[in-house]
């Protein structure tokens, strides 16, 4: 396999890491707005205030001695997620799908004792998973009961939808499907499948696993080309509205589809990765430049979405 030349990449408008950091994150994201995005608890509170859907909050553990209170907090709760408020890259997220007697069952089927749960919470509090090792708080959330339409496209985990929002416009989207190889996590570099999604209609475009094209899910065998995301307009609306909430010019919104409440915001990311370009087989920079060329930024969310759907619709062969 031959390497690409810089001129080939720039001709296709591929966004590189340095350019992302300098030209987009550095230029359009004001640092003082970062805490709202980096701290999931703050994101959640801000979203609730604006009436946006988020997973329900069971409780928060702030300090070490409150770890004892987990027992009462989790009493009778069969399914829950423990995550660090300031975790990065999906680190430290523990998903419990069931309880059997004293044991807790992870999404992967492995069993944990209550001691393990407490240890995990302590680790979160001491900053093991947060950026720079700062002390953190642990959030306990309802587990997402994800839309059964998508269950064939994910293995042992929740599939989420990442939408890149630039100056309020949805510019690129993908669905991330966890696999056995990714240990139920939806991170592409850990072996999850990334499926490019057409901004215009929520239809799948292309799927990659570990940077290689795939036709079907490696574990469930479902073909990706039949995938069309439900609630697509709502997904676009929810993610684009985050622009007003965060005031960040460039970010990624992670959305999951809940069976009952529809699209909910899982988290926002001020430094979204570049793998989305592979899943879409398209350059991100080209689209970002398209937005930069727009004469005036549209004010309403709906106007922005309509324009983006028109601009970034993909011709399917």
């Amino acid at each position: 396999m031959k390497w690409a030349t810089p001129s080939q990449l720039s001709r296709h408008g591929i966004l590189g890491m340095n350019s992302r950091n300098i030209d987009y994150i550095g230029r359009s994201n004001d640092r003082r707005f970062y805490p709202l995005v980096d701290n999931k608890l703050k994101t959640k509170k801000a979203a609730i205030q604006l009436g946006m859907s988020v997973p329900g909050l069971i409780g928060v553990v702030d300090i070490q001695h409150e770890v004892r209170l987990l027992e009462t907090l989790l009493h009778g709760v069969k399914q829950f997620v423990i995550k660090p408020a300031q975790g990065s890259g999906g680190k430290g997220i523990l998903v419990i799908t069931d309880r059997q007697g004293d044991d807790f069952i992870k999404a992967t089927g492995a069993t944990l004792s209550f001691r393990d749960i407490k240890r995990h919470t302590s680790n979160i509090l001491s900053g093991l998973y947060s950026l720079g090792g700062r002390t953190d708080v642990a959030m306990i959330e309802d587990m997402i009961d994800f839309d059964p339409m998508l269950s064939n496209y994910s293995y042992e985990g929740v599939p989420d939808i990442r939408v890149i929002i630039y100056r309020g416009y949805p510019v690129m989207a993908m669905m991330r499907c966890s696999t056995h190889a990714s240990d139920g996590k939806a991170n592409l570099h850990q072996g999850a499948v990334g499926v490019g999604i057409d901004i215009a209609n929520g239809h799948s475009l292309y799927a990659v696993q570990n940077d290689n094209a795939v036709e079907k899910h490696p574990d469930t065998g479902c073909h990706f080309n039949e995938l069309k995301l439900p609630h697509w307009e709502e997904v676009l609306h929810l993610s684009s509205s985050c622009y007003e909430m965060t005031e960040l010019g460039y970010f990624g919104a992670d959305i999951v589809l809940d069976k009952k409440i529809g699209p909910v915001i899982l988290e926002l990311n001020a430094r979204p990765g570049l793998a989305i370009q592979m899943a879409n087989q398209a350059g991100l920079k080209k689209r970002l430049k398209t937005i930069d060329r727009l004469s005036a930024i549209k004010q309403s969310v709906n106007e922005r979405i309509q324009l983006a759907q028109k601009l970034f619709a993909t011709q399917r062969s």
Binding site: A4, T5, P6, N18, R115, K118, Q281
Partner: protein, 509 residues
């Protein structure tokens, strides 16, 4: 007019680069500082500290200054004598520095710093032969000396052989009854005993006082050699090893009898030395010799700092070079490292340990640490306690490694102490988390990325030319700053991205 950030950076970086290069060129062209190391010459900076406790009343301290002998040349003298009257007296025989003061009520230190290098090593040359003064000693000691000399005389043919045999005998574990008697219970030192024996045997002799030069050594004290005259010429002996000849690393301060330091009005006086070796190009040495205080830029160079700080800066000046390597690898190549600047610290450690030993020790300690950390993760510890535990384990590992390797005779593994302990512990902690979260694959990528960056930084930092330039032309760092600023604005593709996005580059084919 307001400049865009991009233009500002280019402007500032350009000014910095030009400024640094300009100063360097000025030093090179106008002042004659050589750009390339060329032939090397070891220059020793010796800092002498005189400390004493005043007993009240006027104080007079006099010190005999070293006289260049055996091919040594003194480059630069510097005295620090706050509050004292200071005077240098020169006579036919010696140069003497004298500090005087009316009164003083606290312990004080006086400093004398000088730089020396050895242009040739022709030996000490000739000197007048002193007359032998018979020692005044008690009859029983005289008897002991007689007994020692009579046995030694049988074994040796000439004065040099006799002296060597005597010194060797005195180095034995069992020095014999007579010698043991001479040494016992007396405050006179070995040297006096040896000189008494030589006087008794009718061999002309004199002490040589000086310093054994060891790089980085602090609190070094004066040492004495002894030389004897066999009727034709002088022979030098080292009493503590019985070896003949002037040792290569011995700087002669004073040849012949006489005290070096005299303190009137003080007690517990001490003379100590701090030593640092700089390897400089001969051209620079000659240049310094000629122009010592007449150039502002030189007077403000690192060479004007105290010896200990010079040693520190020798290492510090290399850090920006290592940092540049890390910046290049991360921004232009896209190599992932564990911790941003951990590779530099490891590279600095490699300078002390040498590369292969350093790599071996690093892998050994981190490997063993990961294994122990794996066990610790079962114990359900809090983060801070766990890292502390890892720090302790790492130090224990380092100690064990040192002791075991020393016993087995692998001296080079002793340099394990140069590895930064806390950094190692954090590396182990981060790696083990990485292992749990992302799998061994990622540990391998980041670990080898870090080691690769460290190795590259080490290789660059150990190039003679780089060492020469960073230490002699610190203004190059201003240019380096400019280059780093420019790199900070590089928004092009990284090398690894050309591979990562290889399919995307060929979409239309």
């Amino acid at each position: 007019m307001k400049l865009s950030p991009r233009l500002q950076i280019i402007l500032v970086a350009g000014i910095l680069i030009v400024l640094g290069l300009g100063l360097t060129l000025y030093k090179n062209l106008e002042l004659g500082f050589p750009l390339s190391p060329g032939q090397q010459q070891a220059v020793w900076t010796i800092e002498s500290k005189i400390s004493f406790k005043p007993i009240g009343g006027p104080i007079e301290i006099s010190m005999v200054l070293p006289k260049p002998l055996a091919g040594w040349t003194i480059l630069d003298n510097h005295f620090a004598s706050s509050g004292f009257d200071f005077l240098i007296q020169e006579s036919q025989r010696e140069r003497k520095a004298t500090w005087t003061r009316e009164s003083l009520n606290r312990n004080t230190m006086l400093h004398y710093k000088f730089e020396i290098y050895q242009s040739d090593s022709n030996g000490l040359g000739d000197a007048p032969v002193p007359t032998i003064i018979s020692p005044e000693i008690t009859p029983d000691r005289l008897a002991a000396i007689k007994s020692i000399t009579s046995t030694l005389k049988q074994r040796s043919v000439d004065p040099a052989g006799f002296t060597k045999a005597l010194l060797e005998q005195l180095l034995l574990d069992d020095i014999g009854q007579d010698a043991a008697f001479l040494f016992a219970g007396r405050k006179e030192n070995r040297l006096t005993v040896i000189m008494n024996i030589l006087s008794f045997s009718g061999i002309p002799h004199q002490p040589i006082k000086g310093i054994f030069l060891e790089d980085g050594r602090r609190r070094q004290t004066l040492n004495s050699l002894i030389e004897i005259h066999d009727g034709n010429r002088w022979h030098v002996f080292n009493p503590s090893s019985a070896e003949q000849g002037l040792p290569q690393n011995f700087f002669v301060w004073q040849r012949g009898a006489g005290s070096i330091l005299d303190v009137i009005g003080g007690e517990h006086s001490q003379l100590e030395f701090a030593l640092v070796k700089n390897t400089l190009p001969i051209k620079t040495v000659l240049f310094l010799e000629q122009h010592v205080q007449d150039q502002l830029l030189l007077d403000f160079s690192i060479y004007s700092l105290p010896v200990e700080q010079q040693g520190v800066f020798k290492g510090l000046m290399l850090i920006p070079v290592g940092a540049l390597v890390v910046v290049l690898l991360r921004v232009l190549v896209g190599i992932r490292t564990a911790g941003t600047f951990m590779p530099i610290l490891i590279a600095l450690a490699f300078i002390q340990t040498t590369l292969l030993t350093g790599l071996f020790i690093f892998l050994l300690v981190v490997g063993a640490g990961l294994w122990i950390r794996y066990y610790l993760s079962y114990l359900n510890l809090l983060l801070v306690a766990r890292i502390t535990a890892v720090v302790i384990v790492v130090i224990l590992l380092m100690a064990t490694l040192s002791v075991v390797s020393y016993k087995l005779g692998f001296d080079q593994l002793l340099s394990v102490t140069f590895l930064p302990t806390i950094i190692l512990a954090w590396t182990i902690e981060r790696m083990s988390i990485l292992w749990e979260e992302e799998g061994g694959h990622e540990v391998l990528i980041q670990g080898s990325g870090s080691l690769f960056a460290a190795t590259l930084a080490y290789l660059l930092m150990s190039v003679e030319l780089v060492k020469h330039l960073t230490f002699n032309f610190p203004e190059l760092m201003i240019s380096l700053l400019g280059v780093v600023l420019l790199l900070g604005r590089y928004s092009g593709y990284r090398l690894v991205e050309l591979y990562r996005f290889r399919d995307l580059g060929k979409l239309d084919e």
